[in-house]
């Protein structure tokens, strides 16, 4: 029982950044915009969050700065893919290439002079783990109740995100833009505005996910801190069937792999570390293939928004 609680505890902690970013990308893709820049936005979010907290000592500023960084990058993506009708795959890839390169540059530039301007190896404020009294002592359940503020916030955000998407008028407009922008425009929905709004909102949440990495999960900056998490997020969006509630299971599954991997390494198994580290990437490929094969026959609740990745203009016939 103790082992399950510990594993679950680490799982939730590792899954938090994934879940924030997945929620963000779900909203972006629901509007029909595919943003493959998650890795780059997460990286920049992680970097700005840590830098701001290191400089100001204020965790809230750090989180806001990360959201701003993610939002600005997403705005660029929205401009290129909505207004300039650029190829969304390539635009997203460029965000990732730029974000990783720029974060690496800034990481060696924004530190204090005595650390030769490096951010690596520094420690700053971090989100403390808050244990909920009484309830936090119940086995298994306690894993959910010994987390940091950002994780607790998710317990509220996930149901809200689900409710907004499926039970409100705005959520309906958002979904219809992703399904069929022409029809949506015909009933008077401003497709361009919706696509911009939710791409930027998505980027802000992705940036927030990055902030959780440097401010809570593995406090401090290190180059390549995201380690492909942004790409796993893209896969998690597909697993969730673009549904915020189901995204929880994917985040727990992949957070769990991290936890188990860590546990096995600590226990010293015969399997070399390299093979253990392959697990999340291989699992992504396998689950993705399984999901695609299972849902390709007809439109199910797991199918992608029909207009995902295509540009739209009223003038086009």
């Amino acid at each position: 029982m103790q082992l399950i609680t510990t594993l679950l505890l680490v799982t939730i902690r590792a899954g938090t950044s994934l879940l924030y970013a997945t929620l963000g990308e779900v909203y972006t893709e629901r509007s029909g915009i595919l943003n493959l820049g998650v890795e780059g936005m997460m990286m920049m979010g992680a970097l700005t969050a840590f830098t701001v907290v290191y400089r100001t000592g204020n965790l809230l500023f750090g989180v806001l700065a990360a959201m701003l960084a993610g939002g600005c990058m997403a705005l660029l993506h929205a401009f290129l893919s909505v207004s300039m009708r650029a190829n969304q795959v390539v635009s997203g890839l460029s965000l990732t290439l730029f974000g990783t390169g720029f974060a690496s540059y800034l990481g060696q530039r924004l530190g204090p002079a005595e650390n030769s301007f490096n951010l690596t190896g520094l420690t700053g404020e971090r989100f403390p783990i808050i244990k909920i009294p009484f309830l936090g002592d119940i086995p298994v359940l306690s894993a959910f109740l010994q987390q940091d503020v950002l994780t607790y916030l998710l317990y509220i955000i996930v149901p809200l995100a689900w409710f907004y998407l499926y039970r409100t008028r705005d959520g309906l407009s958002l979904r219809s833009v992703g399904e069929n922008p022409r029809t949506a425009a015909a009933v008077g929905i401003n497709v361009t505005k919706i696509r911009y709004t939710y791409t930027v909102l998505g980027g802000m949440l992705v940036g927030l996910g990055g902030a959780h990495l440097t401010l809570a999960y593995t406090p401090g900056w290190s180059e390549n801190i995201t380690g492909g998490r942004g790409w796993i997020v893209i896969a998690l969006v597909i697993f969730s069937g673009w549904n915020p509630a189901r995204a929880v299971f994917g985040a727990i599954l992949f957070g769990g792999i991290n936890a188990v991997q860590y546990r096995m390494q600590a226990a010293g198994t015969v399997i070399p570390a390299s093979f253990l580290n392959m697990a999340p990437y291989l699992l992504t490929v396998i689950v993705l293939a399984a999901m695609t094969i299972l849902s390709r026959k007809k439109k199910t609740s797991f199918s992608s928004p029909s207009a995902l990745g295509t540009s739209f203009s009223i003038e086009d016939k």
């Binding site: 190829n87 795959v89 290439l97 540059y105």
Partner: protein, 354 residues
Amino acid sequence: MRIVLAKRETRSQIISTLVPIISFLVSLILGGIVLAFSKANPLDTYVYMFRGAFGNWMAFSETLVKAIPLMLTGLGVSLAFRIRFWNIGAEGQYVWGAIGTAWVMLYWQFLPVQALLPFSLLVGMTAGAIWAGIPAVMKAVWKVDETLTTLMLNYVAILFAEYLYYGPWRDPKGYGFPGSEPFPREAWLPRFLGRAHWGLFIAIIIAFILFFVLTRTKWGLEIQMIGKNPDAARCLGVNIKWGIIMVLLLSGALSGLAGGIEVAAIAHRLQKGIISGYGYTAIIIAWMSQLNPIAALFVAILMAGLLVGGDQLQMMIGLPAAMGLVIQGLLLFPLLAGTIFTEYKIRIKKTKEV
């Protein structure tokens, strides 16, 4: 007043040549802003970078050393992009090329030494081709999204290479250095200027062959059609599944060759430093060269120049070498924004009252 976009009948040739050049200038300006914020004089910094990359023969040979794998991976990625298969797995295919080549070089030494080099490169190409073939088959048969599979397989390939040079392949006489034993000296790929090697000629020849095949053969035209209009291709009896798999095998083989050549000519062993990020820069090269194989050669030299120039920056004035990557990363944004001018005519209309 209202801006109206009208789709052009054909892409404008002049604009599609101009756009990459303007994009490069714009990325330099944006990079200059980053430099100014870092309290460095942008102009001086660019002069340092340029001298560091092209200033003398030694510098230029180092630029060529980086340009060779970039040319080959860039050609490989362009090929896949032509059929709109988003192969972002060049890095993994490159690593497998290095592994395959190293395997022959280290464990097939019973072969005559003259045969070792060509055979090892062939095995490296095959390994790269297989690594690209996996996502290609998944896409062709089950329509599994290729951006994710190709990228995830990069991590798997890199971790596997790490396992090899930290584990079973590690040189027992290497003082704990993460790398295999060196390859037999007679089997190294010869150099001609500094560290620049024959891989350059291989890359140039391949680029011209590809150009010919893509523009002058039936297969090349089928590839064009799969990329531009898959429905029309299907009606004309082109086997799209085979098209995807063949193109990707070739694409992976080219990246594999890049990795094989890199270990055979530069590292002379499988070691930690071979993992380079070339496979990602290749994406920028493919897009900058507008998927034209000959243009890819020149863009690869330019990108290599940015990397070598960035390294020089670190040594000369202590700015992070990642500046080269920042400029590379900035390149695609103006390029993407510019595409609209090649594909659409832009007119400003006066709004009529309804």
